[in-house]
């Protein structure tokens, strides 16, 4: 009786800095960009996929993330699993500096990994919350391009003109 060797299919990805990564098919399918590509070109699975917009540092982090999340999802849902997922996500972003966070967002956007992108966007929002305008500028690497009059007008609006309404405040 011959047993067909069941090999987990691997996909090769080449990053911007010419490193090649072999990832399991399941993980590669987490990247919606790649999934769509394969759905449209089913016989391209042997080729190496070039990712000109993603560095190797980013890709390895993203692969780690997707691997861990796939493992979490394979287990039964429970509040303790949710807790572990939360802790994992917190740890994932905690050590990264602002630049690498932004790089990850751009990569996750390019690869179209919805959950990761959402989590990273929230992480950025958390980093700029309760901070001064100057801090936010430095975070995004931006200059103040307002004229003094424009800035004064916007400050006046912020102070006197309106209040935001949280949509859940009903």
């Amino acid at each position: 009786m011959s047993m067909a060797a069941v090999e987990t299919k691997k996909i090769t990805l080449r990053t911007a800095d010419n490193h090649e990564f072999e990832v399991e098919e399941a993980i590669a399918m987490e990247f919606s960009t790649i999934k769509t590509f394969f759905d449209e070109n089913p016989d391209a699975s042997e080729d190496t996929i070039p990712l000109p917009n993603v560095t190797s540092k980013c890709l390895s982090a993203i692969i780690e993330y997707c691997k861990s999340h796939l493992a979490f999802r394979a287990r039964e849902t429970s509040s303790s699993i949710d807790e572990q997922v939360r802790t994992y996500d917190e740890e994932f972003v905690k050590a990264r500096d602002n630049e690498s966070l932004k790089e990850l967002i751009l990569a996750a956007n390019y690869l179209n990994i919805k959950a990761l992108l959402d989590m990273l966007n929230q992480a950025v929002a958390d980093r700029i919350k309760n901070k001064s305008v100057e801090y936010v500028r430095r975070f995004f690497g931006l200059e103040n391009d307002y004229t003094p009059e424009e800035e004064a007008a916007i400050r006046a609006e912020n102070e006197w003109a309106f209040e935001g309404v949280d949509p859940d405040d009903d």
Partner: protein, 654 residues
């Protein structure tokens, strides 16, 4: 070193990514910082901002022009909204000076809040209704002058799903009929206090608006006939019947047999309702989620309890004012385990034993109201703390026997506690506050009439409860300036503070209050030591101050009022009764503060009739409510009284 010429670098997030980050910003202060960053971010803020609550009319046209994507617009806080303004906004606000007739901002508008815009009339309303094709929700509550013509105007918004017309006092069956026939997709309707509505109007409504899910006819003089009509609404989920004097158990029988999807019912204060009416309702709706029968039951009878037992999904029950037997508690505890909120305010027969039995089963409780349950002691609080770890709100007003022991238990176990009412709990002392301060999630703390607390106790709150936004220290005679120092250092988010009759508070204390930048609501009646210096400190520091009550602060001199008129641009409501303000200062306050909409001006000993005349003229285009002494009615000019009336201003003659 090259200066950035443009704001693009390799780590620039694209526009849609920035939009997503912006959408995750949860607080308004963060969003306002965001739009100050640079032009690109301002543009993104304009794109993502979907809800606006406009505070000043002078900004309204430019704001509307910049936000063409607006989904909801709230003009309830904006003074001087009237038909002329609406006409201007609809015809002149659009992209560029060659803008076509209709404005762009109305295109996507789904929700319009016009509550208290008393200057508006049916012409303006009709223009708005016709200009906004996507309009789904309108709130015109408290526009007391509104009636049938306004209802007819609103009925032009044929896609309307939600409508609030509470306190539109001139609305009658005729107007209601126009709405029923015009807005067939209506799902949510609130008509509280529209006293001219009768059974005829309700009947037509129920025949036409078959999609109604939410209906509130509280305080109306409708009879059981209306309940018969309402019972035919197959999609009804929420029914409000608070204080309806003419309905009784026979009417509730109709509800019992109909309204198959009913989940929430409020019959509090209905004098004609008793146990048998409630039994009909409960018997027919085993999926009931919320039942409010406060102040209508004399007692929670065993038969009613027998049927309540079957409500396996019941989340909220309020039986305020009823007599409850000790045997009832274990029954509720064993059968209604999904209860999240229990209201036993002013109930007779609530004992320690009863509460201990109750919480042993109802461990999911988040809200518990034991106001005036005088027999409750620390033993009950211990039991509550032990069983209900998810407790968020606990009301213990007038539970005189609570001491620091009970608060100790709460501080150890109920760490999610956000709101606690200890008004009139004379057993609360500084030690108790020390224990309570361990509940670091506290948002609202009521300590009115707690005479045994002092600045020491407040300092614990100040150090640990940094999220607190409401604090009531009404008549806490032990509180003085030192307590306020601790508060101002630690509780930076404090928005609402009541210091009335804390007689030891002086100008120094108010100086500390001036550091509370988020303070918007300050009640400080009867502070006999404070002068203009203190008031100036508050006015200059608390930029967000919107509500101020200075009744009986008779030592405050004009320098304080001048400061108020200069600094407190966000002031919306003021009580100056029994204050020593002069003619000129009153005129400055009423004239300069362009957001001021409500003022209580009785017993102003230093103000002459001319002073009132001038002050009222200075604010007549925007003032909405003013309280004056009755003799002034004959002394003020008929011109000013007519102008005020024409603008929809309500004058209360004391």
């Amino acid at each position: 070193m090259a200066l950035f010429r443009s704001n693009k670098n390799i780590f620039s997030l694209t526009e849609d990514l920035l939009v997503r980050v912006r959408e995750k910003l949860a607080t308004e202060s963060d969003r306002k910082s965001f739009r100050l960053v640079c032009r690109e971010f301002h543009r993104i803020d304009l794109l993502t901002r979907k809800h606006l609550r406009v505070l000043r009319i002078e900004f309204l046209p430019s704001l509307l022009q910049k936000h063409p994507q607006l989904q909801s617009l709230d003009l309830s806080a904006c003074p001087r909204i009237d038909d002329r303004v609406v006409s201007f906004l609809l015809t002149r606000v659009g992209p560029g000076s060659n803008s076509p007739g209709w404005a762009n901002w109305t295109r996507g508008l789904k929700c319009l809040v016009l509550s208290r815009t008393t200057g508006l009339r049916f012409t303006g309303l009709e223009m708005l209704a016709r200009a906004c094709p996507c309009l789904k929700s309108v709130d015109v509550s408290y526009c007391c002058g509104f009636g049938d013509r306004e209802a007819a105007a609103l009925s032009c918004a044929v896609g309307l799903r939600e409508l609030k017309m509470d306190k539109c006092l001139h609305l009658s069956d005729v107007g209601l009929a126009k709405i029923a026939v015009g807005c067939l997709k209506l799902e949510k309707l609130s008509l509280k206090w529209c006293m001219d509505i009768t059974d005829l109007g309700v009947d037509l409504l129920c025949k036409k608006c078959l999609d109604l899910k939410y209906l509130d006819v509280s305080y109306l003089k409708v009879t059981n006939e209306s309940l018969h009509s309402i019972a035919s609404l197959l999609k009804l989920e929420v029914l409000g019947l608070v204080a309806c004097p003419l309905i009784d158990d026979a009417g509730l029988q109709f509800i019992g047999h109909g309204g198959p999807l009913l989940r929430v019912i409020d019959v509090s204060r209905c004098e004609g309702v008793s146990s048998s009416g409630l039994i009909s309702v409960v018997r027919g709706h085993s999926n009931l989620l919320e039942l409010n029968a406060g102040y209508c039951l004399s007692e929670l009878s065993t038969t009613l309890l027998h049927w309540i037992k079957n409500l396996k999904h019941l989340e909220m029950i309020r039986i305020d004012g009823a007599r409850i037997f000790e045997s009832s508690f274990p029954v509720i505890s064993t059968n209604c385990k999904s209860l999240i909120e229990i209201g036993l305010s002013k109930c007779v027969g609530v004992t320690n034993m009863g509460i201990m039995r109750l919480v042993s089963g109802c461990i999911n409780l988040r809200v518990l109201n034991l106001t005036c349950c005088h027999s409750i002691t620390d033993a009950a609080i211990s039991a509550i703390a032990d069983s209900c770890r998810n407790l968020v709100c606990l009301k213990l007003e007038s539970c005189h026997m609570i001491t620091e022991k009970g608060l100790c238990q709460l501080g150890s176990s109920c760490l999610l506690l956000e709101e606690i009412d200890l008004t009139d709990c004379c057993g609360v002392n500084d030690k108790g506050l020390e224990y309570l301060s361990r509940c670091s999630q506290l948002l609202c703390l009521k300590l009115g009439l707690c005479t045994n607390i002092s600045g020491k106790g407040l300092s614990y709150i100040g150090s640990n409860c940094t999220k607190i936004h409401e604090l009531d220290l009404y008549r806490c005679s032990g509180i003085g300036d030192d307590g306020l120092e601790a508060l101002s250092r630690g509780c930076k988010k404090l928005a609402k503070l009541n210091l009335s009759y804390c007689k030891e508070v002086s100008d120094r204390g108010l100086g500390y209050i001036g550091h509370l930048e988020e303070l918007s609501d300050l009640e400080m009646r009867g502070l006999f030591k404070i002068t203009g210096v203190g008031l100036e400190a508050v006015a200059a520091g608390c930029k967000r101050l919107a509500d101020l009550d200075l009744k009986h602060c008779d030592k405050v001199d004009d320098s304080g009022y001048w400061a108020l008129a200069y600094y407190s641009r966000n002031l919306r409501q003021i009580n100056l009764s029994y204050c020593g303000i002069s003619d000129i200062a009153l005129c400055m306050v009423m004239g300069n503060l362009t957001r001021l909409q409500e003022a209580k001006l009785v017993h102003l000993g230093n103000v002459t009739v001319e002073g009132f005349e001038l002050a009222l003229r200075a604010c007549c285009i925007r003032i909405k409510k003013v309280k004056l002494l009755a003799p002034l009615r004959l002394l003020l000019s008929s011109e000013i009284l007519e102008t005020l009336h024409a603008r929809g201003c309500i004058i209360r003659w004391d």
